[in-house]
Amino acid sequence: MSWGGLAPLVILLSSLVPALLIFFLDESRVRLRNGLNLGGAVLKVSVVGVMLWGVYRGWRFQLSWELLPGVSFLLRIDSLSLLFMTLSAVLWLLTTIYAIGYLADRPHNRRFFGFFCLCVAATVGISMAGNLFTLFIFYELLTLSTYPMVVHRGDNASLRAGAVYLAYTLTGSMAVLAGTVWLYALVGPVDFVEQGGILVAAPEQRASLTLILALLIGGFSVKAALVPLHGWLPRAMAAPAPVSALLHAVAVVKAGAFGILRVVYDLYGAELAHQLGVLAVLLAFAAATIVYGSVRALFQTDIKRRLAYSTVSQVSYILLGTALFGSVATVGALVHLVHQGVMKITMFFCAGAVAETLGVHRVDELDGTGPRMPWTMTAFTIAALAMIGLPPFAGFISKWYLGVGALEAGAAWVVGVLLLSSLLNAAYFLPMLYRAWFKAPPAAWPQEATTPGSWEAPPSLVLPPALTAFFSLAFGVLAGTAISPLQWAQFIAALEYAP
Amino acid sequence: MKAVTNERIKNITLALLASTIGLGLVVGLLNAPRQPGVAEQVLSMQTHLKLEQPVTAVLLAFRGYDTLLEIAVLVMAVIAVLILVPPRKARAAAPITAGPAPSPLMLWLLPRLLPVLVLIAGYLWWAGSSRPGGAFQAGTLVGAAAVIVLLSQQMRPPRLGRIWRAILVLGLLCFLAIGLLGLLWGQAFLQYPDSWAKALIMLIELTLSLSIGLCFMLLVLGVPPRRRDRFPGERS
């Protein structure tokens, strides 16, 4: 195992080891547990930084372990995996800080943080997976580690939500397993390589390759909450705020989208995938999801359910970009992967902070929260404007590239869909902002929690959303610079399409 | 009424099933390609062991491991019966049927019958190498003698002390020991050195007889006594 293999292993262990330790640590050892958590997250971010610098200098990071004759467990760092891994590592550090503050005096924290670390290990594993077999292993591990967090509260609502979550995700992963094994039986071991590993598609294999692609995309789209398969997402709102932030912005939902990206670009290659025709179906479903998600969000009264349906539609932007043939659309998809993560996590952080300090859960209870909690609500406003896609913010960039990509791919109606969904976004976000800033606060807040000192909420609940709001602004404004996610997405897209 | 009908249906289906199996067997047996068994090799190799009786040769030498496992089954059965009847209760176990006091005829016959039984058992044991006989038959006779003594209430049932347990597993341990010790002298597992083959086999047969005798006695005795059985004169 060369030095290059050490980095992926360290990243994996940096969350597996704390997870095991936390499980067997006593409930009362709060400081040690938080230390382990934060230490693991910081270590991960620093190793990712080192790898960013390394990949830039051309080093290769690869770790393979022969699990079965002919099938190996492969961790490989390439530009696409670094994109997702940086997003996960950074947002994970912030979510850890936020969760520590949010769950300060709640029961069963030991179990929560144990599975929390397992979850990050699975997400990072998905990003580093070098072949479909390893991707499936971590995809499965993700399901197992997020289930206990969905049922964390232990009341009937979350238990039912957990059962629905399991039913959807396990069926999805069975589809992925079937596709993986069939592909392996048909074509033999294939690793993820830019422009697709399946080089030759013999005519008689074309039919089964199409079916396999459909199975894989179907399986992954369960987690990416594509329309018919999105039922679990709104119900999983019964989980505590850091969990819903984690599930919707970073881990679960993105894992599904990332899986589809890997399959389409690094397994089949853009040309072959499009020739097989499955992506046209995906395009239709993605468009339908975008509209359906926004419409349903319009009618939600609970803040978190509205954000959940908004996520359902936002993730389908990524699938939309993947389904359109052309490097510009791919750039749009990749950059939206990062932007949506940053924007949505800010909104969930703010929703959680507001619920925690003022007991505000419904949209109509938002009146006057702006002046009451200026920092939190400004972050929420920035994120909301970014989601709508106004120019200076990150959201605008991804929608712009998706639109141009759609035109380039000759699917003009997609631009219409994008515009319609932006309007719908505005329709369900702006009233919230209006209530927050321009309405008088109610006589008494539902459950006002007094926070010591001058802060409107505990610092650990205010700083993370502020930071991520700054990111959503910076990614938009500094899009042109060399280190922005946009440049990175363009670098990856260039690799994916043959010169 | 319904219970009787589906009872009847069950019987009919069982009868049909059994008859088809029987028929299938008969047809299978009738046209089985009959190839000669291993008889010739047994006879040819048997002289090598200086044993005239082929069955004993097969039992103890050629397929010795079968017999070893069979003794393990017997000892296992005794242990299983003892588990069902914890030792504490066994001590109070009366002779199998605490029937009427032994009749004078029994009392007269007993001292004369026992030596004959033991003699026959000894003969069967010794004859095992050359004529029909062997460890199992001799062991059973020893067991039968012990049961008769207990039946006639002349002897109290043994309290399962250390010696009785030792005899119980003596046959199995002796067989295993002889089989494994051979390894030290470069022999294969369960291989008897040529010069001592007959002697070792007879020794194993002797220990087996004793163990089997005790096993059968315990199996017969071990059947848990009824609560109301009292050994005459035994304080409850």
């Binding site: 499980f23 067997f24 699990l67 079965l68 004759p69 099938v71 029961p107 499936f136 591990l141 289930y147 206990p148 059962a163 399991l166 396990l170 069926t171 069975m174 397993l177 079937a178 094994v181 392996y184 039986a185 | 299938g24 299978g28 046209n31 089985a32 390609p33 009959r34 190839q35 068994g37 291993v38 047994v42 190799m45 030498a61 050629f62 397929r63 491991y65 079968d66 496992l69 393990a72 089954v73 296992m76 242990i79 299983a80 003892l82 588990i83 069902l84 250390r162 347990r165 597993v169 199995l172 341990l173 295993l176 494994l180 390894l183 022999q187 294969a188 597992f189 369960l190 291989q191 008897y192």
Partner: protein
């Protein structure tokens, strides 16, 4: 140390059985460890020659097969005996702490000789190459198993034990009848020689059917699985761990090896499909029943009935291109199932020991008080659900690869559906025990019991991680 010296070492537990019967309480706790270490030593010693020669033989008493008995030792046997040693040692450590403190030390003294007899019988069952020797070993295994079931002396356990022994006896008689036919027709009892002489015909297929019925009864496979849940449910926890993992594995191993090696030619494609259909029915019916049980031990027992169906799925796949994958997948599933199932029953025992009953919906808060046991149950459940880091996943992946590769994709569907159904009954158990215990009093459980359960569960996960070498060794054993 030549194999001729190490192979007999594998049946040391048979020597330990009478010794433990003589020593009684004094033999604890060192004897199980001693026997396990010696058997493990022999296994390690045999690993090298096994890798070089692929298959080792030992003629018992130095007599050539048609006359004497022959032991066969290959990669698969190595795996089976290693799993048996692991489970028996873990159960021995567990039982030392489990002895019900109701002072029935006397009855539980019988547990140890029975455990060693079972251990030795299973080891010689895997080694045996002679079909009559297999009959005698199966008898010893069944007798030891029933003695374990009736250990407690509770009326339900006695009835379950009686039914089990009667059916096992009928199974043995059918098996013996098959032997009688084979010996009468082909004149030889050694499995390898019989495979050469055997010509397909009326008698050969009748013998195959009889052997099959007998072993189906002993393994409680689908049509005749009725006795298993009652027997494994009523037996004390360490006993049901042994029964559900090793005893059924032993007779299924014999069934698969005899059918596939002796009757390879007699098994027509139609018959192979029928056997696999029985396996699929076992998976679906067993999982469905497991979902309806209210007691944890019955859920785990019915899950055994389901999991035993999987290896049968490999029978039709052995004629196709995916033969090596199917063969290694089926047996790998069997091996990891043994470890996982034993661990699950040990956890059920901890639950029983802690609260006196194992009714699932009245076990709230068990997870809070015994995290290590529930963690072990979770790890073991990975194998049942065939989820990635476990041995069960590797086995299922190989079987899926064989079924998709050979075009018989419907067996793949059964495997996937089986995984989902398993998720159904596992999570139905996990959810209630995660609640909060409130004021319920849970008795303290000795640490050794939880550690034993955890070590087996970790073993089944390690089987999933280091699967490269074992699977390649299994594939080297693919039939002629």
């Amino acid at each position: 140390m030549s194999p001729a010296l190490l192979l007999p070492g594998l049946i040391l537990p048979l020597v330990a059985a009478p010794v433990s019967f003589l020593l009684g309480r004094r033999a604890l706790p060192w004897l199980p460890w001693l026997v396990a270490l010696m058997v493990a030593g022999c296994l390690c010693g045999l690993a090298a020659p096994l890798l070089s020669e692929g298959e080792l033989f030992l003629h018992l008493g130095n007599w050539e097969p048609p006359l004497g008995l022959r032991w066969r030792f290959d990669g698969l046997v190595w795996g089976m005996i290693a799993a048996t040693t692991l489970v028996c040692l873990a159960v021995a450590v567990y039982a030392d702490g489990y002895v019900p403190n109701r002072g029935r030390r006397g009855r539980w003294l019988g547990f140890w000789p029975v455990l060693f007899f079972l251990w030795g019988a299973l080891n010689s069952l895997f080694l045996a190459g002679d079909i009559f020797n297999i009959y005698v070993t199966l008898e010893l295994v069944s007798l030891a198993a029933v003695a374990l079931v009736t250990l407690d002396g509770r009326p339900q356990a006695l009835a379950a034990g009686m039914r089990y022994l009667l059916l096992a006896l009928v199974g043995s008689l059918c098996y013996l009848l098959g032997i009688a036919l084979l010996y009468a027709s082909f004149g030889v009892l050694d499995a390898a020689l019989l495979a050469e002489r055997l010509q397909p015909g009326m008698t050969a297929s009748l013998a195959m059917a009889l052997l099959g019925v007998g072993l189906f009864l002993k393994t409680a496979l689908f049509p005749v699985h009725g006795w298993l849940p009652a027997a494994h449910g009523e037996a004390p926890a360490p006993a049901s761990a042994l029964l559900s993992s090793l005893v059924v594995m032993g007779s299924l191993y014999v069934l698969l090896r005899l059918w596939l090696e002796l009757f390879g030619a007699v098994l027509t494609p139609g018959l192979r499909q029928f056997v696999a259909v029985l396996g699929a029915a076992a998976v679906l019916w067993g999982s469905w029943l497991a979902m309806c049980q209210r007691r944890l031990k019955l859920v785990v027992a019915y899950s055994t009935v389901a999991q035993l169906g999987y290896p049968l799925l490999m029978v039709p796949l052995l004629e196709t291109s995916g033969a090596a994958a199917a063969w290694s997948g089926g047996f790998y599933l069997l091996l990891s199932h043994a470890l996982a199932k034993a661990s699950m029953f040990l956890v059920a025992g901890v639950l029983l020991h802690a609260q006196g009953h194992d009714r699932i919906f009245q076990s709230r808060g068990f997870a809070g008080r015994y995290p290590m046991s529930v963690f072990a149950f979770g790890l073991a459940a990975l194998t049942l659900l065939a989820l990635p880091p476990s041995g069960g996943f590797i086995g299922k992946w190989l079987l899926l690869e064989a079924s998709f590769g050979s075009g018989q994709w419907w067996w793949g569907l059964v495997l996937l559906l089986g995984g989902l159904l398993a998720a159904g009954y596992v999570f139905r158990v996990l959810v209630p025990i995660f609640g909060d215990a409130g004021h319920r009093h849970l008795e303290a459980v000795p640490l050794r019991m939880e550690l034993a359960a955890l070590s087996l569960a970790v073993g089944s996960v390690v089987l999933g991680l280091v699967a490269g070498a074992p699977v390649r060794a299994l594939q080297a054993v693919v039939l002629p």
